[in-house]
């Protein structure tokens, strides 16, 4: 647990907010969590600072009815701070943490794949020729549907492309 405490202190929240590009609601929940955490810490500090010893002798001298003081003393003695059953929480946190770590690994793998794809597209962009050099075969390979359409046109003996004349004009010499 100590490492966790040290790690949590080292977390530089401002960087977490800005650089990780988290969604708005994650940042809000993070901030709420941090506020609750600091609030709890402050209260804890404040209360732990207070004296927990009760000066029973002084009370006995003031109060006549010492029975009340005895009762208070008994109460004080068998008063135990309620120890929350933290282990359940911890286990939950543990499982959550395991799941989180596993999800983190998963996202990490996904990010690796994305990285590779980005690399490929980057390479593609670098070696891709400008639009002027786009050849008919490239588009044909990219969209086999067009190739099939033209093949059926050829089989049927249809050579005119509807709408081509209006859009691209007619290079007709006659």
């Amino acid at each position: 647990m100590a490492t966790k405490v040290a790690a949590s202190a080292a977390v530089d929240f401002s960087r977490v907010y800005s650089s990780l590009g988290l969604g708005k609601e994650t940042i809000a929940s993070l901030q709420a969590f941090r506020k609750r955490h600091s609030e709890a810490q402050r209260l804890h500090a404040q209360y732990s600072g207070q004296p927990t010893t009760v000066d029973l002798a002084r009370y006995r001298s003031i109060l006549k009815n010492t029975a009340i003081v005895d009762e208070a003393e008994k109460l004080l003695k068998d008063f135990k701070p309620v120890t929350y059953d933290v282990s359940a929480h911890v286990k939950a946190i543990e499982t959550f943490e395991a799941k989180a770590v596993e999800k983190a690994k998963e996202t990490e793998a996904k990010i690796d794949i994305e990285l590779k794809e980005l690399q490929a597209t980057l390479a593609n962009i670098e070696e891709a020729r400008p639009f002027e050099d786009l050849t008919v075969e490239d588009v044909g390979a990219a969209h086999p549907r067009i190739v099939e359409a033209v093949e059926t046109m050829m089989k049927k003996g249809k050579w005119t492309v509807p709408g081509y004349k209006e859009k691209f004009g007619d290079l007709n010499m006659m």
Binding site: V150, E151, M154, K155, G157
Partner: protein, 58 residues
């Protein structure tokens, strides 16, 4: 070369191919007759000279 497209070749061309064989046949007969005609039979440039000579013997 580039890829081959399935445009029909025989569908539009069959009448002209049939007609082609007809004219081919006619011209073949015309040529055989003309080559053996007296005017060209003896011509030195006649590539069919040997053939004609052999036929002449029968």
């Amino acid at each position: 070369g580039l890829r081959k497209w399935p445009t029909p070749f025989l569908k539009p061309m069959w009448p002209f191919m049939a007609a082609g064989t007809i004219t081919f046949y006619l011209v073949a007969k015309l040529q055989d007759a003309a080559v053996r005609s007296p005017e060209f039979a003896k011509d030195p440039r006649n590539p069919y000279a040997a053939q004609i000579a052999k036929e002449a013997h029968h």
